[in-house]
């Protein structure tokens, strides 16, 4: 599974992109977030405030209950501020 971090999520986690292999019981966005928070203090802090966090699975906005699987590209970013 390919993970991407943008804006201050990249700063806080310290990575822009990483390949991960979560255990098979991780099947939703919410479960992935919980699992990622255990990967270190940077990830824990970056991913703790779910209100300030947007998730995209395969470049589509996703909700906590949406499924994620091994081949997916999952991105984490704050509310957008372009335009």
């Amino acid at each position: 599974m390919k993970l991407l971090y943008f804006a201050w999520l990249k700063t806080k986690t310290g990575v822009a992109e990483e390949e991960v292999a979560p255990p098979p019981e991780v099947t939703t966005v919410a479960e992935l977030l919980t699992w990622l928070q255990s990967r270190g203090p940077g990830h824990a802090e970056a991913l703790s405030d779910l209100n300030a966090l947007k998730v995209a699975v395969n470049q589509e906005y996703a909700r906590p209950e949406d499924p994620v699987g091994p081949g997916d590209e999952v991105a984490f970013f704050p509310p957008v501020t372009g335009g």
């Binding site: 201050w8 991105a75 509310p79 335009g83």
Partner: protein
């Protein structure tokens, strides 16, 4: 047409191309976003626009298609810049051309409201205190809410 680019754009040339040779266009509505030298209370020197390559183009293409479904447009254009920009620089161009002005205005506002809340761009401002990520404005979400229709996938 949609474009995400580092280079500046020639506003007059882009708009001229958009309506050239199409005399069905009665009205052209345009919005240009520029870098202001004041963000909130602090002077900023410049900003850097980050985006999510791939998802950005996909979403802009989709919202442009959605605008063309909702309104009878003769032409539409979204150009969004990324990278480092200075005060006064153009950030974004949104334009919609239609037979009548109401459709042109509504489509133009729909596109920019949507883009401000859904397109994956983030502004990093250079302030006196160092670089700072711009926080999203609630008023932008409110502006997007009014376009929400049950059928739309792009607005989700």
């Amino acid at each position: 047409m949609i474009r995400v680019q580092e280079e500046d754009f020639d506003l007059g040339a882009e708009l001229a191309k958009l309506t050239a040779g199409n005399a069905k266009v009665g009205g052209l509505a345009v919005f240009v976003g520029l870098v202001r030298d004041m963000a909130g209370a602090q002077d900023i020197g410049a900003m850097t626009l980050e985006h999510y390559p791939g998802m950005t183009e996909k979403m802009l293409t989709r919202v442009e298609a959605e605008a063309n479904e909702r309104w009878p447009l003769e032409a539409s254009l979204i150009i969004h810049r990324v990278g480092r920009l200075e005060p006064g620089d153009q950030i974004v161009l949104v334009a919609a051309a239609s037979a009548h002005r109401e459709a042109a205005f509504e489509a133009c506002q729909f596109l920019i409201d949507w883009l401000k809340t859904k397109a994956p761009f983030w502004k990093l401002e250079e302030t006196g205190d160092g670089a700072k990520w711009v926080e999203a404005r609630d008023s932008d979400d409110t502006a997007t809410e009014r376009w929400r229709a049950p059928k739309t996938g792009a607005a989700e």
